[in-house]
């Protein structure tokens, strides 16, 4: 009996039989795999597994330590919740894609070398892109292609960095990139930051997630950015650049969330904002900060999935996604409202909800590291988080103007999945110790102090006061917001214009020139050649032939056939030779 079963293989190989199962059997199977994976992760012992050699490089398929266990644990738990939420789907392909996606994410967090990491990294991009394509329709397909293009570009950048790093250091083992940051390190960092949605590389996330299927977006909200947080924590702890990018990110997401009208896009901007806390924590790099980043990733996966499930339930039931078209659903969906609000309180870091015990660790670590500006900025982002996910979104989605929409609670499996996530959000908030015990470093942090509780409540409830007073200013508007995807969306249009107008015109001009000038010239030259050939070359050839014919005729007349003529000719020849010899020799 082997003591290590790779959970990534469980999901990826486990995805193969899904299309061949039907009905209850498929549902049972879909639930079985994540349960097995959770068990596999729980039984994992720190160590190195699957060491091998490939083209002269050391390969380490799995390296288990405390940091990878934190992420593997929450990934498998999230996979189970996601599967429950999606279990009513009859399309096998979406289940398969979700399984491959989860498996690849697990492959990344357990990868011990860069080649294994890269392989799973790309697997994640392709599998998750399918969850966008599966939605169908022009908008989703276009967003899916953009998503894929961006991730393939990021993958190439990452691969470039990996190759340079491997050549320079002679090893492809995945670990902290210490010392001077060279080109290789910056390329790897850029590849990682793209998946973490660090601005300006963030737009793929807010572009694609809201276009994914209702169930697909739940999976997507959990895995891609958090694997990026994991690899950043592994390779780049204490990188000063990340502190500032993370802080900017936390506010960036919040500012865009004010402008957003699409409910899931608003939540997607809050992924950017929340991942900002984690990126900043990794940048600070102290034990407490990395603990904070890891624990916040853990909590974030659960509450963000819960929020996406809530918004997804509304879309599933009403078919609408814009806040301007929603409202008044609380009467028909009270359970969804309640479960959504648990997620909203958790992301806003209300006491006794998960965000309170994890986000505060990052902020406290920034404080201990004497970074006052970071503390203030992250606290401001917390206020913005509650403003949008806790107040604006639920207000315009569930309360607000009653749009008299036909609505009901979503299917029971969706509610159960939301209930599971909500229970974990509260459990982590009330009993943080099990999560703290899981973290990579020993935790010396007490979230429940009097000051921390009153300060958090003060911050959040006075944010609510601001919301109540300036509600009119927050009314959603029928607009979309320009983000950095402008560069490639408008850029592509400009490129197409360039291809259609100047390039096509140039091509036409060139072909016109060839038709009006070059072709007649060539025709003329050919005709001239033909004339020279016919009149000049041919007559010379004919003339030579005629002359040879005439010479032949003359020579023939000399051959008389009379022996005396020939003897005479010989004698004449001998005399001539003798005369020439006598005259010329002397």
């Amino acid at each position: 009996m082997t003591d290590f079963v790779h959970p990534a293989l469980l999901f990826i190989l486990g995805a193969l039989p899904i299309p061949f199962l039907n009905g209850m059997r498929r549902k049972a199977y879909l639930l079985l795999i994540p349960v097995l994976a959770i068990l596999a992760v729980l039984m994992m012992q720190p160590g190195i597994y699957g060491a091998a050699s490939f083209i002269g490089q050391e390969i380490l398929v799995a390296r288990v330590d405390k940091l990878s266990i934190v992420f593997a644990t929450v990934f498998t738990m999230m996979a189970l919740i996601g599967v429950v939420y999606a279990i009513h789907l009859t399309h096998a392909a979406q289940h398969v894609a979700a399984f491959v996606y989860v498996g690849s994410a697990l492959g990344v967090v357990l990868a011990g070398d860069y080649l294994t990491l890269f392989l799973f990294w790309e697997g994640m991009a392709f599998a998750s892109a399918y969850l966008v394509f599966a939605q169908g329709g022009r908008q989703a397909v276009a967003a899916g292609f953009r998503y894929l293009m961006v991730h393939i570009t990021g993958g190439v950048v990452l691969l470039g960095g990996i190759v340079l790093h491997g050549v320079a250091s002679g090893s492809l083992l995945f670990g902290p990139i210490g010392g001077e940051m060279g080109v290789a390190a910056y390329l790897i960092l850029a590849g990682f930051m793209l998946n973490a949605a660090v601005p300006p590389l963030n737009a793929w996330l807010t572009d694609a997630y809201p276009e994914a299927t209702v169930t697909g977006a739940v999976f997507m909200s959990a895995f891609t950015t958090k694997t990026a947080v994991y690899v950043l924590a592994r390779a780049f702890p204490g990188t000063e650049l990340l502190v500032w990018l993370g802080t900017v990110m936390a506010l960036y997401g919040v500012i865009y969330a004010v402008l957003e009208n699409d409910c899931r896009r608003l939540l997607a901007y809050h992924i950017v904002s929340q991942v900002g806390y984690m990126v900043a924590g990794i940048g600070i790099g102290t034990e407490m900060a990395v603990n904070g980043a890891a624990s916040h990733a853990f909590a974030h996966i659960l509450y963000k999935a819960l929020l996406f499930m809530g918004a997804g339930a509304v879309i599933y039931v009403t078919g609408r996604r814009k806040l301007t078209e929603l409202g008044g659903l609380y009467k028909s969906m009270p359970l969804t409202v309640t479960l959504y609000m648990v997620g909203a309180f958790a992301i806003s870091a209300f006491p006794f909800f998960s965000g309170f015990v994890t986000k505060s660790m990052v902020v406290a670590a920034a404080g201990q590291d004497h970074r006052a500006l970071v503390v203030l900025a992250l606290t401001m982002a917390s206020s913005g988080t509650f403003l949008h996910t806790g107040l604006k979104l639920p207000y315009y989605m569930f309360f607000g103007t009653d749009q008299r929409l036909e609505a009901r609670e979503p299917p029971r499996n969706m509610l159960i999945a939301m209930g599971m996530a909500a229970a974990l959000c509260i459990a982590i908030g009330v009993f943080p110790q099990p999560l703290y015990a899981l973290l990579p470093y020993p935790v010396d942090f007490q979230p429940y102090t009097g000051v921390h509780v009153t300060e958090s409540l003060g911050l959040l409830m006075f944010t609510a006061l601001g919301f109540v007073l300036f509600l009119k200013a927050l009314d959603p508007e029928n607009t979309i917001s320009i983000d950095t995807d402008w560069f490639y969306r408008k850029g592509a249009k400009h490129f197409m214009w360039l291809a259609k107008k100047p390039l096509a015109r140039y091509e036409k001009a060139v072909s016109d020139v060839s038709e009006t000038v070059a072709l007649p010239l060539l025709h003329g030259a050919a005709r001239l050649g033909l004339w020279i050939d016919l009149t000049g070359v041919d007559s010379i050839v004919n003339g030579v032939a005629h002359s040879i014919l005439r010479c032949g005729g003359a020579l023939r007349r000399l051959q008389t056939g009379v022996v005396t003529h020939y003897a005479m000719a010989m004698i004449v020849g001998v005399i001539a030779a003798t005369v020439i010899f006598a005259v010329a020799w002397r």
Partner: protein
Amino acid sequence: MIKRVVDFFGDGQYANQRRRLFYLLLVLIVIADFLVSREHAEYLWDRLPGWSAVYGFGSCVLLIFFSKFLGHRGGLMRREDYYD
């Protein structure tokens, strides 16, 4: 039970009760902030009771108006068919 709680936050008939409860909560939080012990104050603002309330309100207002300013005047918000 859940439905009654949700209805309390949604139905117009409870609007006055809601408002009173909300303001009461705000006052209680500020009072509590004055009462808790502040031994490990690291920064100036950590020593100021009620600071987080002021900062929360200020942040909220700043975020709303700064973002809307960027959206309307900065040209970030565009018509929905902008990319079509």
